[in-house]
C-alpha cells in the first residue's frame, strides 16, 4: 500500500492538473474571503464562521480535481497501464483517493486558516479568536470537508469515466441543483436539508446564506451533518471502486 501511495503521488505530481487546481482553489477562496470581509461594512458582525465565506469556491475546485484525476486516466489510457502494472484494482484506486484526499485536506486547511488570517488582517478589531468547538470546526473543518469532497470527485470519476460528463455532473450539481431544489414548492425545503453540500456547509457552520431561507429546525446537528456528508462521499467512492473492479478497463 505504501508503494501504491508513492505511485499515485508521482502520478499526481507529474501532471499539471493538481498544481493548477491547488492554485485556483487557494487564490479563489482567499480572494472571495477578502472581498467579503473587505466590503462587509460596519453593521455586519464579522465572525470566525463568516470569515470562511470563500471556502466553497475551493471546495468545488477540489471536486473537479477529484473527477479529473480519474477521468483523465481513462481518457489517456493510463488507467489500463496502471491496472497492467498492478492488477488488483481496489487498492490502486483507494491509494489514488487517499493521495488526492490528502492534497485536498492540506488545501482545505490552508484555505481555512488563510481566510481567518486574512480576516484578522483586514478587520483587526473583529472578534476572531478561536473559542470553542464550533469555531475550530469552522476553520480546521475545511480540511476534512475538502478531503471528502475530493474523494467524492474520485467516486464520480470512476462511475462516469468521462471528463466532460464528470465535470458537467459535478458543476451542475454544486452550482445549480443544490441552489434550485429549495425553490420547489412544499417539498423543496425538506429535500434541501438532505443535500450533500448543504450538509458539508452545516458541518463547518459557514453557510452564510441559509438562515435567510428560513428552513426552521434542521434534522441533524453539525456533527451529524458531517458524518452524513462523509457517508455520502465514501459511499460514492465505494460504488466507483466496485464498478471499476468489475468492468473491463
Amino acid at each position: 500500500m505504501i508503494t501504491l501511495l508513492a505511485v499515485e503521488r508521482i502520478k499526481l505530481a507529474t501532471t499539471q492538473a493538481a498544481w493548477w487546481c491547488t492554485a485556483i482553489a487557494v487564490v479563489a477562496s482567499l480572494g472571495f474571503a477578502a472581498l467579503f470581509v473587505g466590503f462587509a461594512g460596519d453593521d455586519f458582525a464579522l465572525t470566525v464562521g463568516s470569515s470562511q465565506a470563500g471556502a466553497t469556491f475551493g471546495r468545488t475546485v477540489l471536486l473537479v480535481l477529484g473527477v479529473l484525476v480519474v477521468t483523465t486516466e481513462y481518457h489517456w489510457g493510463t488507467a489500463r497501464t496502471t491496472f497492467q502494472a498492478v492488477p488488483s484494482r481496489a487498492p490502486v484506486l483507494l491509494a489514488k483517493a487517499t493521495v488526492v484526499g490528502i492534497l485536498a485536506a492540506v488545501v482545505g486547511l490552508a484555505v481555512g486558516f488563510g481566510s481567518l488570517g486574512l480576516a484578522m488582517l483586514l478587520e483587526p478589531g473583529a472578534e476572531l479568536a478561536l473559542d470553542g468547538a464550533a469555531d475550530w470546526r469552522a476553520v480546521a473543518g475545511q480540511g476534512p470537508v475538502y478531503l471528502l469532497t475530493a474523494v467524492l470527485g474520485v467516486g464520480i470519476g470512476l462511475l462516469l469515466r468521462n471528463t466532460a460528463l464528470g465535470l458537467a455532473v459535478a458543476l451542475v450539481w454544486t452550482q445549480l441543483v443544490e441552489g434550485l431544489v429549495v425553490l420547489i414548492p412544499t417539498i423543496g425545503d425538506d429535500i434541501y436539508v438532505w443535500l450533500p453540500f448543504f450538509a458539508a456547509s452545516q458541518f463547518v457552520g459557514s453557510d452564510v446564506g441559509s438562515p435567510a431561507l428560513g428552513l426552521g429546525e434542521l434534522p441533524l446537528g453539525p456533527l451529524g451533518y458531517g458524518a452524513y456528508f462523509a457517508g455520502i462521499c465514501l459511499l460514492l467512492l465505494a460504488a466507483g471502486v466496485w464498478t471499476a473492479v468489475r468492468r473491463d478497463a
Binding site: 508513492a6 507529474t14 489510457g77 496502471t82 491496472f83 497492467q84 502494472a85 473491463d248
Partner: protein
C-alpha cells in the same frame, strides 16, 4: 509460455473472441495474425487481465495475470503507444511504472537508453511523434526485464525506418531467449518477424503452426506458367480442369503440379517460357485461409452464387 483455453469474449450479441485456444511457446517470436476486427486486441487485453473473459481462461507460465506478483517483471506489453499522459515526461511515466513493481530507478535510465530516448526523457510525452511514442511504449514493456513480451500492432503507422527498428528489436528480444507474442494484420511483416503463427478470423482460431508450414499448406500446387500461346494454353488447362488465375504476364495454376502442366503443354505442342512452382507469399496464404473469415465480408458473391446455382443446373 502463454496458454489460452476456450477463451471467449462477448459484448452483448457480438462475439469478439470465440472459444479460442492456443499456445505461445517460450523463447521465440510468435505472430498473432488476423484481419482488423478479428479479436486480436481483445485477446491481448484478456491476457493482461484488463478485460474479463466471458468464458475460458488464459495463463502465463501457468498463472492468471492477476496471480502474478509484480507482473511487469514477468510480462511486458505494448498495447497502445498512446496510453501515456501527454503532460507527463517520458521519465516520469516510466518512474511511476517502475515504482509500482519495485523496479530500481536506474532501470528507467537503462531502458530509455535501449530505445534511444535518453535525450528527450524530460520532455512531455504529448509532443512525441508516433515513432517516439512507440519507443517509449517499448521502454515501458522492457522495464521489468520480463521474459514474456506482448506487442499489439507495433509497426502500425510507422515510417520505414521505424518499422525496420522494431523488426530488428523483436529479433533481438527473441535471441535473448524471451517469449515474444506480436499481433499484426500485416502478413508480410509477420513473415519477416515470426517463426510461429497463431491465425484468427472473426475471433476463431484458424490455424496454429510454424510460419513455414502455414505458407506451404496454403500455397500448395500453385504454379506460374508463361507462354507466347497464352490463350491456347488456357483452353488446354481448363479442359484438364485446372483452376486458373490470370497473372501479369501469364497464368497462375492451382490444383495441378508443374509436371502435369508441362505434359499438357507438350501434348498440345505449346511453347512454355516459364513453368515455376510458386513459393506462395504469406499474403496469398492468408487470404486463402481466412478468406471467409474476414469480418466485414459483404457476402454478395456467395449470395449470387447461391441464387444462380439452381438455374445453372
Amino acid at each position: 509460455m502463454i496458454e489460452a483455453r476456450g477463451l471467449t469474449k462477448r459484448y452483448g450479441k457480438t462475439t469478439a473472441v470465440d472459444d479460442l485456444s492456443f499456445d505461445v511457446a517460450a523463447g521465440r517470436v510468435t505472430g498473432f495474425l488476423g484481419p482488423n476486427g478479428a479479436g486480436k486486441s481483445t485477446t491481448m487485453r484478456m491476457i493482461l487481465g484488463l478485460d474479463n473473459p466471458t468464458a475460458g481462461r488464459v495463463t502465463i507460465n501457468g498463472k492468471r495475470y492477476h496471480e502474478l506478483h509484480h507482473p511487469l517483471r514477468t510480462v511486458g506489453a505494448l498495447l497502445d503507444a498512446k496510453w501515456v499522459h501527454p503532460n507527463r515526461s517520458a521519465r516520469a511515466h516510466l518512474n511511476w511504472m517502475a515504482k509500482s513493481n519495485q523496479i530500481a530507478e536506474r532501470r528507467v535510465d537503462e531502458v530509455l537508453d535501449i530505445v534511444g530516448l535518453t535525450s528527450v526523457a524530460g520532455k512531455r510525452a504529448g509532443g512525441f511523434s508516433l515513432g517516439m511514442s512507440q519507443r517509449l511504449g517499448i521502454a515501458a514493456a522492457l522495464l521489468g526485464d520480463p521474459e514474456v513480451l506482448l506487442f499489439d500492432e507495433p509497426v502500425n503507422g510507422l515510417d520505414p525506418e521505424g518499422i525496420l527498428w522494431i523488426r530488428k528489436f523483436m529479433h533481438r528480444l527473441a535471441d535473448e531467449g524471451r517469449t515474444v507474442f506480436v499481433s499484426s494484420h500485416l502478413l508480410s511483416e509477420m513473415a519477416l518477424t515470426a517463426t510461429e503463427l497463431v491465425v484468427i478470423g472473426r475471433g476463431k482460431l484458424i490455424s496454429q503452426s510454424s510460419t513455414a508450414d502455414f505458407v506451404a499448406r496454403a500455397s500448395e500446387n500453385t504454379v506460374k506458367v508463361r507462354s507466347p500461346q497464352n490463350d491456347r494454353l488456357r483452353d488446354a488447362l481448363e479442359q484438364a480442369s485446372a483452376e486458373l488465375t490470370a497473372a501479369e504476364d501469364g497464368l497462375i495454376v492451382s490444383g495441378m503440379d508443374s509436371a502435369k502442366i508441362g505434359e499438357i503443354a507438350a501434348e498440345n505442342g505449346l511453347v512454355l517460357h516459364e513453368l515455376s512452382p510458386q513459393q506462395g507469399s504469406l499474403e496469398q496464404a492468408f487470404m486463402q485461409i481466412t478468406g471467409d473469415s474476414v469480418e466485414y465480408h459483404t457476402g454478395i458473391e456467395a449470395e449470387v452464387a447461391q441464387v444462380l446455382e439452381p438455374t445453372a443446373r
